[in-house]
Amino acid sequence: MDPLSSIGKIASSGLRAQSERLRVVAENVANADSTGDAPGADPYRRKTISFEEMVNDATGDSEVDVSEIGRDRTEFTLTYDPAHPAANAEGYVKMPNVNPLMEMGDMREASRSYEANLNMMETARQMRQQIIDLLG
């Protein structure tokens, strides 16, 4: 397969991986305050995502794929709120281990990488256009 068409496939695998990452960030941010509902119950656990290099058997290109969506095993923070339905015997509620600052950083990085892949696609398109222009 000619390299210029490969680029489209490679860049779109990058786009997909980065948007998947952005989806995980959105889930974490949306659930930043999701606590349990029974006394002492665990709240929402932050999700993590990791990527892996995936070599396309047909073309030999190394694309990227989501390897695993896991859970962050850091400790939950405790806040004192005896009236909360999830409060334990001492009146403490476990809050999700989501750090909004970290999620924002991740979000920025994901969108930056997304843009880089998009630019790659656009560049390949322009290169193909130049070849087509040779005909005209």
Binding site: P3, G14, S62, E63
Partner: protein
């Protein structure tokens, strides 16, 4: 007459081949910019790509391939280690988006140059054949 046999057109089209191969490798790097343990790649130099090509066609002529065949085998541009990565993150990945973007726009510019050159060569032929452009 095969345009491909004239050194000018052959060189220009090999240059285009090499540049698009390089762009593919850069696309792989950018797609894998956040993959743990991924090492940035580059391609062999244009010079060694040309040498490989010359060796390949010599080998073919020896094997008795039909020289008038239009469909020569497509040569792939070989991957090579990247020269100097700008940095490395803690997960063992040494792709820097800035560096790859710069290389990719450089490659795109050179591609445009080679495509223009090809067209110029064609225009020269037109002038020679018709006397007007």
């Amino acid at each position: 007459m095969k345009l491909d046999e004239m050194s000018f057109f052959r060189l220009a089209s090999q240059r285009l081949d090499w540049l698009s191969g390089r762009q593919r490798v850069l696309a792989e790097n950018i797609a894998n910019a956040d993959t743990p343990d991924y090492r940035a790649k580059d391609v062999q130099s244009f010079e060694s790509f040309l040498e490989d090509g010359a060796a390949e066609s010599a080998r073919q002529a020896e094997a008795g391939a039909d020289p008038s065949s239009l469909l020569g085998p497509r040569r792939e541009v070989e991957d090579a280690e990247t020269e100097a990565a700008w940095g490395e993150s803690f997960d063992g990945n040494n792709v820097t988006l800035e560096q790859q973007t710069m290389l990719s726009s450089e490659t795109a510019g050179q591609y445009r140059l080679a495509a223009r050159l090809y067209r110029k060569g064609y225009e020269l032929l037109t002038v020679a054949a018709t006397g007007n452009r």
